[in-house]
């Protein structure tokens, strides 16, 4: 069940907290303490806006263990407006067709459940962004 592992990821999963490199100014998600660009220490917290766009996407029909109740679901590479890319499910699509370049925004949803009596894991998903802001 690994409760501490999921608890450690709370601020990333619920609030998209990453880092900004004080040397080269790039935004980093997830946080990793060493800047992937310039290789120096980067431990300053940075909270992402949650806005991004779809870089690529696909629909999963055969779900792995723990994700069966969600299937089929769409998973995407989302490019956040501040620069980093992440992997997340898309949600609240309705009848809308997903497309590369579609603007999206972060919401918090249930990611998986570990059986009837298992832990519920929540985290970020992305839904179509309707307004221009």
């Amino acid at each position: 069940m690994e409760i501490p592992r999921h608890w450690r990821l709370n601020s990333q999963r619920y609030a998209l907290v990453g880092e900004v490199c004080p040397h080269c100014q790039i935004k980093i998600f997830p946080p990793r303490d060493i800047c992937p660009d310039c290789g120096r220490e980067a431990r300053e917290s940075f909270k992402f806006s949650g806005r991004g766009e779809v870089y690529s996407f696909t629909t999963v029909y055969e779900a792995p263990a723990g994700f069966e109740e969600n299937a089929p679901y769409t998973v995407a590479l989302v490019k956040l407006e501040e620069g980093p890319m992440l992997t997340a499910q898309l949600t609240d699509l309705g009848e809308r067709k997903t497309s590369i370049g579609m603007p999206v925004e972060m919401v918090t949803r249930k990611l998986r459940s570990d059986g009837d009596r298992g832990m519920l894991v929540y985290g970020y998903k992305f839904r179509p962004r309707l307004s221009a802001s």
């Binding site: 592992r5 990821l9 997830p30 992937p36 870089y55 690529s56 996407f57 696909t58 629909t59 999963v60 029909y61 055969e62 779900a63 792995p64 263990a65 723990g66 994700f67 069966e68 969600n70 679901y73 998973v75 995407a76 590479l77 980093p84 890319m85 992440l86 992997t87 997340a88 499910q89 590369i100 990611l111 998986r112 894991v121 985290g123």
Partner: protein, 387 residues
């Protein structure tokens, strides 16, 4: 390594790839190991390097080095498992090469083994996703086909390539496997089979995705000067390159590049003092067709976005510009997880020994195998030369 006493691969042992429900993991490994040893019976191995990625998760069995050493009647010898997801095979050979070239051992065995088909249910995808980023990829329901699909969709989009752009890799793989007795699928496919195939994870369809199955493959590695008795022509390890890149697809600078593959190829070319134009046969990682296209580009055989054309234009057959997947690749031979890399290298060895039967590349003298781990986080490129 000295040019005068190179490290060579002299023996190959293979089991057919398939559903070996009647054979245990250790027995499968033993079959391949004995097959390799039989090719040069005069040699006594001093170490075993195992390539495996799924036994702990799927069979509850770790500690395979000691397990197989004892089971094979090689009690007491040095043995270890090398794991780098799908690149385990290439890395196991790397360790064997380093040990022999350093003089620690004269003879070593590389044994890739994997048992996947005992398992049913959704636990397999979870075990496979351990090769990715657990906290940031698997946690969001990503699967290996979905990972390939994210790249494939973007690749077709950016290159304005047709929906069936990657069909050539699947077609060639199946055609080449017809004469491979170890291949799981030995029937050619028609273009319409690909075009009408059901989706696995759109746009990855059934004919883009290699089947996962059981298998074991082994290599007998030695310093050339200790070869004795009858044996097949030794194949020299001319160059090796190992490189890593971010495990998560989203952390790479460019999802349409395979930076570890590119870097590992550059390192191998440099050590071998050759270039792409010198390679006669190429066995890339093709768990999904998109990886084969990207590998062609990363290894310098085609420009960015153009890798698919080599296969689409039918130029990857045994007499083509760049023979590829000559024993069926993972697509038709079958994907054996951590053991796949050993099959890839064994297939290059057989080509260079003139033992490739129906898909022999005429006059093949230099061959390249490229093993990838996960979605490309580890890459091992091995360049081999006919003796």
């Amino acid at each position: 390594m000295t040019a005068s006493d190179p490290v060579v691969i002299v023996g190959v042992g293979l089991t057919p790839v398939g559903e070996h429900w009647q054979t245990s993991l250790r027995s499968l490994g033993l079959q391949a190991l004995e097959g390799a040893r039989r090719e040069a019976p005069g040699l006594q191995p001093g170490a075993i390097y195992i390539a495996n990625m799924l036994a702990p998760a799927l069979s509850g069995q770790a500690h395979l080095g000691a397990l197989l050493a004892d089971f094979a009647g090689l009690r007491g010898i040095e043995a270890v498992t090398v794991e780098a997801a799908g690149a385990s095979g290439g890395l196991a050979l790397r360790q064997a090469f380093l040990a022999v070239t350093a003089g620690a051992h004269d003879v070593a065995l590389v044994v890739g083994l994997e048992k996947i088909t005992d398992h049913i249910g959704s636990g397999l995808a979870a075990a496979m996703m351990a090769s990715g980023d657990s906290d940031y990829e698997a946690a969001h329901g990503l699967t290996p086909p979905a990972l390939a699909a994210l790249r494939m969709r973007r690749y077709l989009h950016e290159g304005h390539a047709p929906q069936d752009a990657l069909l050539g890799f699947s077609r060639a793989a199946h055609a080449h496997a017809v004469s491979n007795p170890y291949a799981m699928y030995r029937k050619a496919i028609r273009d319409e089979d690909y075009r009408r195939a059901p989706m696995v994870s759109e746009p990855v369809n059934l004919y883009d995705a290699a089947p996962l199955a059981d298998g074991a493959a082994a290599l007998l590695v030695a310093r050339a000067s200790v070869l004795t008795g009858a044996h097949p022509p030794p194949v020299r390890i001319r160059g090796q390159g190992v490189a890593t890149s971010p495990v998560a697809l989203h952390e790479g600078r460019d999802p349409l590049d395979l930076p570890a593959a590119r870097l590992s190829a550059e390192r191998a070319y440099a050590e071998a003092a050759v270039g792409p134009a010198d390679i006669h046969v190429f066995e890339p990682h093709d768990s999904f067709t998109i990886y084969a296209a990207l590998a062609v580009e990363a290894a310098g055989f085609a420009a960015r976005g153009e890798g698919w054309r080599l296969a689409a234009e039918d130029r990857i057959g045994p007499k083509g510009t760049l023979p590829m997947l000559t024993f069926g690749g993972s697509k038709a031979r079958g994907d054996t997880g951590g053991a796949t890399g050993v099959y890839q290298i064994a297939e290059v060895v057989l080509q260079l020994q003139g033992r490739a039967d129906g898909t022999q590349v005429p006059g093949a003298r230099l061959g390249m195998a490229q093993c990838l781990g996960g979605s490309g986080g580890t890459a091992v490129t091995t360049i081999l030369e006919a003796g």
